[in-house]
């Protein structure tokens, strides 16, 4: 077995040192009821690298690769070009095979990288402090709701109807066990987010308002009025961002008064990977809230010779110290994805991120203009970044998406997939465009959509 260095001679020598007659002697404490007489049945025996590769490749071949078709899916996961050097760096064994930096003297590589990551995320979000990552955007969203409850000592959260429905589901799932009350709603099919309705739902018991920016329909609106309304009632504003590239073009949530900003970092460095692993981003605008944050924090300090160095800090918030009184149960986070994000962000820099954002927006505008020319198709949004909603003339978007997949076009995410059974949303299609989209892709989407709409009743 290519991964197991011990030889039978080694094993015999070691058993002799231990004073055991056989390996079974080391498992004597396993009760008879659980002793097996050999390898577990119904499973294959060991296999060569070639055989395993053949098996895995046959499974991979059954999937339609996003890069092999005109591709327009978003809704919380975006296909961006990841520079080749990102993957080279994250595959360095010193990063790949390290653990959480509990021994800082021999983990400065990971720690300094996390300090750079925290700085990049905080600046992108317009916040003071970001943590060293959580699992993904949806779990970060729940952690923000839980943190807001700790800060305000209130237990009610108001979710915008235009929050990603899976994020809302995660929050509602967790809330049913923790005694929090969640007010949610469906998205209104309007060209701009409906703020008055949301503001009207904030009251004196509200711990936080959760708003997505850009929202699930791709719309953008000034969050300042919501921040003011929330703060007037003593509530916090939690802003969720699922597309960090957008923040290269539009104002940061922190600038508009968000108290906690969370999001999905997958767009930078991580890739689609069928939904995971992704990268939860979490930041607070006011440093006074730091001690209520979940997850790891990396801080600067000095060593015994006075040299600058970095450590995990404020760990008295965390499970391994506080146990049942911890701010969260999180332990392992998303370290290697954070490295990928940071390397990609370093390659981009201020200038590159802004150029990337501009290119995404330019192509999205092009796509919106082209799709508007398809008979029966209407773009819903007034404002958008790289994703917008189109209405398909009363036709069921979910079926159209399936039909277009058969025609070789991955056309977008139907709201029918995200909101099954909600009649008003069935004809809406979310279309995302990034720098990887070509003008030919857009033309093919328009042409095939037109054909599909004609043939679908």
């Amino acid at each position: 077995m290519r991964y197991l260095p011990l030889t039978d001679t080694d094993r015999a020598e070691m058993l002799a040192t231990i004073g055991a007659g056989s390996i079974d002697d080391l498992f004597v404490d396993v009760p008879a009821v659980a002793q097996l007489d050999g390898p577990i049945r119904d499973l294959p025996m060991h296999a060569s690298e070639m055989a395993v590769e053949r098996h895995m490749k046959s499974l991979a071949a059954k999937n339609l690769v996003a890069g092999d078709a005109p591709f327009f899916l978003g809704a919380g996961a975006y296909r961006h070009h990841v520079p080749a050097s990102v993957d080279t760096i994250i595959q360095r064994g010193e990063f790949l095979t390290a653990y959480t930096p509990y021994q800082p003297e021999i983990a400065q590589g990971t720690l300094q990288m996390l300090f750079e990551f925290q700085t990049q995320v905080a600046r992108l979000y317009g916040c003071a402090v970001a943590n060293a990552s959580l699992y993904d955007g949806s779990t970060a969203c729940w952690e923000a709701v839980a943190m807001a409850a700790r800060v305000t000592k209130r237990s009610r959260a108001v979710l915008s109807g235009a929050l990603h429905p899976h994020y809302a589901e995660v929050v509602k799932t967790m809330a049913q066990f923790t005694g929090y009350t969640i007010g949610d709603a469906l998205p209104s099919i309007t060209p701009d987010p409906e703020l008055p309705g949301l503001i009207g739902r904030i009251d004196e018991d509200t711990a936080c308002v959760v708003v997505q920016y850009p929202d699930i329909l791709g719309r953008i609106s000034d969050l300042t009025p919501i921040a003011e309304a929330a703060h007037a009632k003593g509530a916090l504003l939690v802003v969720v961002n699922t597309e960090p590239v957008a923040l290269g073009a539009i104002k940061s949530p922190g600038e508009m008064g968000a108290d906690i900003v969370v999001g999905e970092g997958q767009s930078l460095g991580v890739g689609l990977q069928f939904g995971g692993p992704y990268l939860g981003l979490f930041a607070v605008r006011d440093p006074k809230h730091v001690r209520q944050m979940p997850g790891r924090l990396c801080g600067e300090t000095t060593d015994a010779e006075g040299k600058r160095g970095f450590v995990l800090t404020l760990s008295t918030r965390e499970q391994h110290i506080r146990r049942e009184k911890a701010t969260s149960n999180i332990c392992t986070n998303s370290g290697l994805c954070a490295l990928a994000f940071t390397v990609h962000m370093t390659l981009l820099g201020e200038r590159g991120l802004r150029e990337l954002a501009a290119e995404n927006h330019r192509l999205a505008c092009l796509a919106a203009d082209r799709l508007t020319k398809v008979p029966g198709v209407r773009v819903l949004n007034n404002g958008f970044f790289n994703e917008f909603t189109v209405m398909l003339d009363g036709k069921p978007a979910r079926e159209i998406v399936r039909d277009l997949a058969d025609r070789g076009v991955l056309a977008g995410v139907s709201l029918g997939r995200l909101y099954p059974g909600v009649e008003a949303l069935q004809q809406a299609l979310l279309v995302a465009v990034t720098e990887t989209t070509t003008e030919d892709d857009i033309e093919m989407l328009a042409t095939e959509l037109e054909a599909s709409l004609k043939e679908t009743v």
Binding site: L6, L96, I106, Q108
Partner: protein, 518 residues
């Protein structure tokens, strides 16, 4: 067992305490291959980028809703050569499994096979969107189904939830299923029992799920006190959370008896599967009466730890809890096609407690773990457990004459050996031993955990170390322990040769500096 270094180095070739070996100071602060590296924000520039875009047409009109960013973000960029060098230099200040022995107890730092990395990067897995029409991702859904089947067979459990993102998320998944099962029968139980030796995530998870946590004591031999546990069972106890093998490195030999008692009292048994590597392929937790157990794919199934994640924490369930597993999950229809059961499948979802994450779990970890399982097979996995346990016992028996091993008489250890700091001289502590091992070229073991042993040192060698590597570690470990027993003052300043000396953690926490300023 004495295994000297064969590189030509001799013990008499001592270097000075400052590591300079008598040489002069350098102007750069670098020492040949030991390179100092500034922060990104000290070397990057706002107008530099390492990414060229295919076109840069000036934006004509924008539709950003009047929210164009006016202020600079405050980011800096580097070109590709500078980026590669910056992060390569940082990487060299890290210890990893690829570099050496990493016996971090309870973390299972085994070799990460590179085939796993290669398979996870196949475009058919890496470049597919979670919301693509399901007809276009049949292979991905099949990977989830196949991995789930392996996990069920290896654990002897009928149900599995694949979406939890890491071990602690898996714990939460198990506890929420238990809570949902009690709620479904109108049973409002409030207490979860957790042994003192448990990982901190156990009580944190139970509390996060709204339970009150009560400790169960351990016996002097390092196992759960069965009598105390039975005495505490009653109509208010929802579950017990027990790690097996436990964090003292021992198999809970009364686990079946505990499980039967918990079930008789109307509760459920949660098993923390962090230490599954000791028994994988040899013992099935389902045979011991477990109702729910998470499996850290990043431990037992070798997906890389990545400097703190990403992990993956699927949960296996008994018949009683399987119906409450979270959405989504993969099923197969009559035609053989795979599909996801989500919120819309009102009948098929049954009493599922809901959704824990936006998409379907850590796909990138699933492909790696499945590759690992296929490589090892049922026979190889059994050998994994046996070699891991053999290596740990070898270390235990090679150290117990000089290092306090509180449970050495409690039977063989499983895949980790636990020691304490008894008899150290001169006020030296476990921390000093750990830092001394750094100078010897090792990543230290887990220290000060579990809490039930004073100055605990938990050593987990894993199965992917050669006998020569373990012998050399034992030689070094004994030497450092002997210094601690002798009260060697020099150990208090260790490490001398790491990229940094001891770091001031108190100052870091007192006045937190959590982002670059300037």
């Amino acid at each position: 067992m004495n295994a000297p270094n064969k590189s030509g180095w001799k013990p008499e070739m001592q270097v000075a305490d400052d590591g300079f070996a008598g040489g002069p100071a350098t102007t750069t602060g670098n020492r040949a291959l030991m390179l100092e590296e500034p922060l990104l924000f000290e070397i990057g520039r706002a107008d530099v980028t390492g990414v060229d875009l295919p076109s840069l047409d000036p934006a004509r009109t924008t539709r950003l809703g009047g929210l164009e960013r006016a202020e600079p973000i405050g980011l800096v960029g580097l070109t590709e050569p500078e980026t590669v060098r910056h992060y390569t230099r940082l990487s060299r200040q890290n210890y990893g499994i690829d570099l050496g022995f990493f016996p971090l107890g309870s973390c299972t730092m085994k070799h990460n096979p590179r085939l796993n990395e290669k398979m996870a990067r196949l475009p058919g897995f890496a470049d597919i969107h979670p919301l693509q029409p399901q007809s276009t991702v049949q292979g991905a859904l099949e990977v989830i189904a196949q991995l789930g089947e392996w996990l069920c067979k290896l654990t002897g459990m009928p149900g599995v939830a694949m979406s939890p993102k890491a071990g602690a998320h898996g714990e939460l998944c198990g506890i929420l299923a238990i809570r949902a099962a009690h709620t479904a029968r109108g049973d409002a139980r409030e207490v979860v029992l957790v042994p003192e030796s448990a990982h901190g995530t156990n009580p944190a998870t139970a509390a996060f799920a709204g339970y009150r946590v009560e400790d169960i004591p351990a016996t002097p031999e390092g196992r759960v006190d069965v009598a105390a546990l039975k005495a505490r069972l009653g109509p208010d106890v929802a579950a017990v959370m027990i790690t097996n093998p436990n964090t003292c490195g021992l198999f809970e030999k009364d686990f079946r008896e505990i499980a039967d008692a918990v079930h008789a009292a109307g509760g459920y048994v949660y098993c923390d599967g962090a230490n599954f590597n000791a028994i994988v392929g040899r013992v099935r937790p389902g045979d011991l009466g477990v109702d729910a157990m998470h499996i850290n794919l990043h431990k037992t199934f070798s997906t890389p730890h990545g400097g703190g994640g990403p992990g993956s924490g699927p949960v296996v369930f008994s018949e009683a809890l399987a119906p409450y597993a979270p959405l989504p999950f993969v099923r197969q229809d009559e035609s053989g096609a795979f599909y996801l059961v989500e919120e819309e499948h009102r009948e098929e979802r049954g009493p599922s407690f809901g959704r824990m994450t936006a998409f379907h779990g850590q796909m990138g970890m699933f492909t790696r773990a499945l590759t690992y399982m296929l490589s090892h097979g049922a026979d190889g996995l059994k050998q994994v457990a046996e070699d891991a346990v053999l290596n740990a016992n070898y270390i235990l028996r090679s150290m117990e004459d000089i290092l306090h091993a509180p449970f050495a008489a409690s039977g063989p250890c499983m895949h980790e050996a636990l020691f304490g700091d008894k008899n150290f001289g001169g006020g030296l502590s476990t921390l000093d031993v750990a830092k001394g091992l750094i100078d010897e070229g090792y990543h230290p073991m887990t220290v000060y955990f579990p809490l039930v042993v004073h100055g605990a040192m938990l050593v987990e060698p894993t199965e992917t170390e050669s006998k020569a590597a373990i012998d050399q570690f034992i030689t070094a470990f004994r030497a450092v322990v002997e210094r601690a027993l002798a009260g060697d003052e020099g150990l208090k300043q260790a490490p001398y040769y790491a990229p940094r000396r001891r770091l001031d953690e108190t100052a870091a926490a007192r006045k937190p500096k959590l982002a670059f300023e300037g």
